[in-house]
Amino acid sequence: MAGPALLVAALRDPGCTSHWSLREWDLAIRQARASRLLGRLCVLIEGGADIAAVPAAPLAHLRGASIVAEEQRFAVQQEVERIQAALQGLGLPVILLKGAAYACADLPPARGRLFSDIDILVDRAALPDVEAALMLAGWASAHHDAYDQRYYRTWMHEIPPLQHLARGTVVDVHHAITPSTCRWMADSERMRAEALSLPGRPAVRVLAPADMILHSATHLFLEGESDGILRDLVDLDVLLRHFGQEAGFWTRLPERAEQVGLGRALYYALRHASRLLGTPVPAEAAAQTRRWAGGALRERLMDALYSRALQPRHPTAEDATTPLARWLLYVRGHWMRMPAHLLAVHLARKALKRVQPQEEAGTEAERDSPR
């Protein structure tokens, strides 16, 4: 690695950008773009440094990304209105997760963030009604493959993504926090029960602060695809800094992790957010979560893997072992989610599919010919 990544230095301390040369900006913009963090970097510099000191050429990229992020933040809220409208007849609580929750609860990670799918969590018993109501409002299953359908419906904690036929927006409907065969079993009922309603939006809720952190951590350290895990860690960093100021939060957080069975996820979140991004974690909370580290050898191994995989996904922030670390974490993600015999069958099917590419509408659009 060519020293610590510039992007990470800026995420830790936006003020350091004021000394950057154009050559350093060149590198930082590329790392931020590859990590989907350009807009976030813009917001951080606006809040903690002097945006006027950024030279015009890199500033254009920061501003462009932040404009798009701001429009997306608005668009996500509009889309949530439509989901609410589609589901209001069912009279059941719909819990927004991740990006949609940050946007609708007006939490700081929503600023400068790129949004992709809208994730919602509902009671498992209500799944058929929810799916039917969304289909009536124009969302249709994007996965036509019978194996994918069965894989999702049997093993996953969500149904296959639903895409709106006209607008192209995607909704992921979850019925639990972790997959049913997962080695980490979150008490989803308990987390749903304490969800909070949002002012002005009677039909939707968001997870309570500690649960929001635990869900975000679980997502990152269980199934986070390595493309986006630095972005996910930045979400956690911003959430922890925000909620960390509330009285009692740091006592509540490890207690809640214990209650809902997500201690390991919390341990990883606090450890890597503080190590990489300098997230302020009180010593007591860090010590409390240490019991979930799972032994010195495991701790050292996971530190080694994540300290590589969490770097910006750009050639200038990788060393010779980074691809191996990413691959091991990918395999671990599957291992954590499925028992060994299922995993073997699943990976074999995926490998076979790669050998026999199938025509799937839309997925190859980007690989098309250039204009």
């Binding site: 060149d26 501003r63 404009i67 798009v68 690989r367 098309d368 250039p370």
Partner: protein, 303 residues
């Protein structure tokens, strides 16, 4: 220093090694390649452009030969954007057009500080003529024709609108000519410099007309809105400008926008203001000479 000042040897060496940072206003693109066809294409079209030596590039692109067997059998090239390969490879002979198409992709996918329209933009008397149309409407032919008749070239593909200044930002580059229009322009403007043709591309035969040097030198000067025109080529049709309502003009620009969905409200606001300040027309033509004469008589809007 301009690219034209480099010796052919230095040019090829730097292009293949660390890449050449070419200042194509308002961007710097660092392009790297060891493919001779790309080097000669760049030398032909970009001799008058500056080398950017400040260390910053907006885009890092590489036109890379495919290795292994592909090196020898029907050789191919990849467009590499900062390590990623967004497109399928193309035959090596299409390396130069691939650079131009890839550069369009870079701008259209990243520069959301602008509202971007798939349109040709020309300027006369500080007024911009925005010609928006889907491919195959004769937009590039018309653009090449007007540029060879005294209009300043801002772009043949990409209208970059700065929402804050409500100005059209020039990004003057070679004009892409397709199929029959290559001959049409050769006859219309015998002094124009047209590069070698690439055959059997996904657009048919493609050749690029070099951007006039005067337009390249004025690349730093934006233009005010003037006219928004939706052209359509039709064999044997007389050259005719028919007024178009402002509402339909906004819709037409939206349909041809690259980033309307990314910018939503900001794009709507910008396009309505642009159309407010422009005279709007549908334009049909069959013969380039008549079209150029028709645009030559166009009066600027009163405001």
């Amino acid at each position: 220093m301009t690219l034209g000042r480099l010796s052919p040897r230095d040019f090829a060496q730097r292009l293949a090694a660390e890449g050449l940072p070419v200042r194509i206003e308002p961007f710097t693109v660092r392009v790297r390649s060891d493919i001779p066809a790309l080097a000669s294409g760049l030398r032909l079209h970009y001799a008058a452009y500056d080398l950017a030596e400040d260390g910053f590039a907006d885009f890092h692109v590489q036109i890379a030969r495919r290795r292994a067997l592909r090196r020898w059998i029907r050789p191919q090239a990849d467009f590499v954007f900062d390590g990623a390969r967004p497109f399928k490879p193309l035959p090596l002979a299409q390396a130069y057009p691939m650079f131009e198409w890839g550069f369009n992709w870079c701008i259209a996918n990243h520069c959301h500080q602008y509202v971007m329209i798939h349109a040709a933009v020309m300027e006369r008397d500080d007024r911009a003529l925005v010609m928006a149309a889907p491919p195959g409407s004769g937009k590039s032919t018309l653009c090449a024709g007007l540029v060879c008749s005294g209009w300043r070239l801002l772009s043949d593909e990409l209208a970059l609108i700065d929402p804050d200044r409500l100005a059209l930002i020039p990004v003057p580059r070679p004009i892409s000519l397709k199929n029959a229009s290559i001959e049409v322009i050769r006859r219309y403007a015998p002094d124009g410099v047209i590069g070698p043709a690439a055959h059997d591309t996904h657009k048919g035969t493609v050749a690029h007309l070099r951007a006039p040097e005067a337009s390249v030198l004025r690349a730093g000067e934006p233009a005010r809105p003037g006219w928004v025109v939706f052209p359509r080529w039709e064999a044997g049709a007389p050259a005719r400008l028919a007024p178009r309502t402002k509402a339909r003009a906004v819709l037409g620009l939206m349909e041809n926008s690259f980033n309307y969905s990314n910018l939503a409200r900001r794009a709507f606001d910008t396009l309505t203001r642009l159309v407010d300040r422009s005279d709007c027309f549908d334009f049909s033509y069959g013969v380039l000479e008549d079209a150029a004469a028709c645009f030559g008589k166009l009066e600027p809007p009163a405001w």
